[in-house]
Amino acid sequence: MDHLDAEGSVIRSGRLLADAVLKHVSIDRVVVVSFSGLKGAASSYFNVFLRRIQEVCGLAVFDSVIQLEFGTSIQKQIFDRSWNAMQDGLRNSPLD
């Protein structure tokens, strides 16, 4: 099932996906999220998705309840950079 904003907004689409995942996530069930077929997802899309998940259940349990599948290696790279930045907590302290 696609979770894309009707107008194609990157930010709203990230939020929609996160909310859909959160609806199904539980401690004894893994939710599979596939990004294959999604083209041109910029960092903000993954940032919004991750931040929403973080707000509701934290990122500590992420790997155990959410399984991600990527369409291309560059898509995974962009996600990984968002993930790392999120983990480093940019909001509270400037890096470097």
Binding site: L4, G8, V10, S13, G40, A42, S43, T72, I74, R91
Partner: protein, 277 residues
Amino acid sequence: MPQAQIDFDINEGLSSVLALGDQLRQLDQARAGDRCLIDLSSCGHLSPDGVSVLGVIVLDLKHAGVVVDCLPPIRDQVRQYWISSGMEQLVQSGVCKSEILHSGEVAPLQQHTKAAFSDSDQVVCMVRRFIELSADHEEYLRICVNEVIQNVQDHSESAVGCVMTALYKEGCGEIRVAIVDRGVGICNSLKKRFPDTTAVIALERVTKGRYSAMSRSNNMGLGISNVCGIVNELGGDMLILSGNASAEKRTDRPWNIVESLKSFAGTGVFFTLRVGS
């Protein structure tokens, strides 16, 4: 009547864009109800970089209620690009109606005020008219375009958003993409969160990544540095102009980030990607 005389070639790259921006600065004094004139009749060459700068300034002037008159280029080839890039229509009607013009190696001017996945569609379609774009190259191209436009939406405060145009160079399999806004500039945006920011430091920070004005909750300071990484990986060129600084990356060379004597009103991001064989 404020007027700008563009009687030189507008190539790709720093010096041409700065020279153009400098000439167009004469129009800053125009106010609502005024007429102004841009004279390109002696212009001998136009590039995507130049067209995007001209395009966003014309939009901005029209948005402010200024009547913009234009003497288009006379030379055949330049005149042809003037039309196919959408500039003629933009001057006449004040809007980018890209669907009418969409043909050839030019992705005509498009105005973007909100970031959407589809922002990169036109550029991808244009390249596909010439080559079978691989899934990876398509993704690289889409991400670069979408990252820049998302940045404009999040940080620029540009009343007219940004304009984008692109040109595919069949001979070398390269695409040149130009995206320009008329916003507050990267330095002013970053200063809100990092008061020590200067124009040069701002560009050093955004090209390196992990510095963000955090204008919105989706910001992590990754957008421009993601574009830089892709351009670097594909061996392309990139130029960022914002306020009083420029950042230039040429294939196999480190970033050259310097203060410029001429200030650029807004931010321009121009990059070349090799997408063909």
